[in-house]
Amino acid sequence: MTSDSASTDVAKGAPEAIKAIPVRHPGRWVAMAVIAVLVAMFVHMLITNPQFHWSFIWDNLFTPPVLAGARTTILLTVGAMVVGVVLGIIAAVMRLSPNRVLSTVAFLYTWFFRAVPRLLLCVMFGTAGILYQHLTLGFPFDKQLGDLFGLNVDSTILTVDMNTLLSGFMAGLLALGLSEGAYMAEIVRAGILSVGDGQAEAATALGMSRGLTMRRVVLPQAMRVIVPPTGNEVIAMLKDTSLVAYVPYAELFFNYEAIGSRTFQIFPALIGALLWYLAMSSVLLVIQYFVEKRFSRGRTVTGTGIRLAFLNRGKPSTVGGADV
C-alpha cells in the first residue's frame, strides 16, 4: 500500500531536483583577491608602524580619565536623546496641530536648529553665561507693570546663577538636545503622517480622545517609521557628543586629547578615542537591530512594501533591517 503510493508519486513524475551547473563569476574571485592583499597590507602597517604605539594605547584604554570621559559621553548621549525625543514629539504634534500659532512656532524651532551647526551651538551655550548673569523666575513683566501703576513690585520666586546652571555639562546637553529635537520632530512627523487617516478616525469613532488616539493608536504605528532613523540619530549623537569638548567640557574626546598633548602621543591618543567610539557605536548597532525587530510586530505576515523591497534586493526577509 505504502510502496504503492510512493511508486505512483514517482510515476506521476514528481520532477527530479534541478542539478544545473552554476554561473561562474571570475570577476568576484579577482576582486576578493585584490581586497585580501589590501587588507593584509593594512594590517601589516597597523602592526609594524611604530607611530601607532599599541602598547601606549592599550595602557591608556582603561585609565580613570578615559573611563570618566566615556561615562560622560554616554550620559550626554542618553540625555541629549531624551531631550531630543521629547522635544521632537512635542514639536511634531504641534506642527500637525490645526492651531496656526502652534504649528508656526514648531516650524520656526525646527528651521532654526536645523540651520545652525552643532559645534557653533555648543560653543555658544558654553559662553551664554556672559549674556545673562542670572536667570530669574517670576511673574512676566512684573517690574514694568509695577512701574506703570507706580508700585514697587518684585514677584521673583527664584534666582539662579547662569554660570552654575549652564555648567559645561548642561550647556552641551542643551545644545545637542535642542538641535536633536529639531531633527526628531521631522522624523516623528513623517512617522505620524505615515499612519493612515482611517486609524485615527476609527479610534475617534470609538470615543477615544485626541491624546489617547495619539498615544495608543497613531504613535505605536508611527514607531515602525520612527525607530530606524532614530537608531541612526542615537549613533550620530554618540559621535556628536565629541563637540562638547569645545564647550568646553571633559568628555571622552576632550580627555583623550588632554592625554595626547600631555604625553606628546597625539596620534595614539586619537586611536584610543577611535577604538572607544567604535566599540560604543557597535553596541548601539546591535541594540538597534533588536529594537527594530520588536517594532515591526503585527506586520510580518503579509508582505509590506518594505519587505518586498528587501526581497527584491535578495536579502533575508526581515522588516527594516539595520542598514547604517
Partner: protein, 255 residues
Amino acid sequence: MSDDVMVLAEAVHKSFGRTEVLKGIDLSVRRGQVVCILGPSGSGKSTFLRCINHLEKINAGRLSVDGQLVGYTERGGRLHECKDSEIAAQRREIGMVFQQFNLFPHMTALENVCLAPIKVRGLSGADARKRGGELLTQVGLSDRMDSYPSQLSGGQQQRVAIARALAMDPKLMLFDEPTSALDPELVGDVLDVMKDLARSGMTMVVVTHEIGFAREVGDDLVFMDDGVIVEQGDPREVLANPRNERTKQFLSKVL
C-alpha cells in the same frame, strides 16, 4: 413618540469648501429600526453617516441622536459647541464600521476589541477580555482572538471591527459599505453577523449595495442622489417598483 426616535435629521446641510455635498437631508430612524441607504457614488452617503457621529460638522439644519443634538448643546435658545470630551462621550454611544475595516494593525483581534472599553469606559482588563471574548465568539472568531489583523481574511477583519464597535455597548450602529471591500465569498459571513445584530434589536443605519440584505432585514430603504433623499419607503416596495426615475436607473444597474 419622540422617545422612540434614535436619529433625527432635519434639513441637514454639509459643504466642503464651496461644494455642497448634503443639500437638506430629512430622516428619522426609530429605535430598533434598520435603515439602509442606497445611492450612486458621490451622492453623500458616507458624509451623512459621518455627520451622525460628528466626524464631520454639519453647516445647517439639526441632527440629533437619542434626543441629544450632535456636537452642540442648546441653552437659552442658542447653540453652544460641545467640548471635545463631550463629543467623545456622544461618540461612545455610536458604533461605526468602515469599508476598509480600520483595525489597529499593531494589536491582536482581542486587543482591538478591548482597547476602548478599558481606556475609555474604564473596564478592568479581565472584564474587558471576558466581554471581548464573548463578542468575538458571537461573530464566529473564537479561534482567532490572538491573531493580528494581517493574519486575518478581509471578512474576518470586518467581523472583528464589528465586535470592536459592539464592545462599547452602543445604542446605534453605523455601517459604511461594510462588505464593499470584500471578496464575494466572504460577504455572506459579515452579512450574517449583521442580520443577527438586526434581529437582536440593534438600531442600525447601513450604507450598502447589498440589495438582498436591504430586502431581508431592512425596515426602511432610503435612496440618496446628489445630496438629497429622492425616495424612501419599505425596501420590498421600493425595490420592486421604484417611483423615482433616478432610483429606477440605479436599480436597473445594480440588480
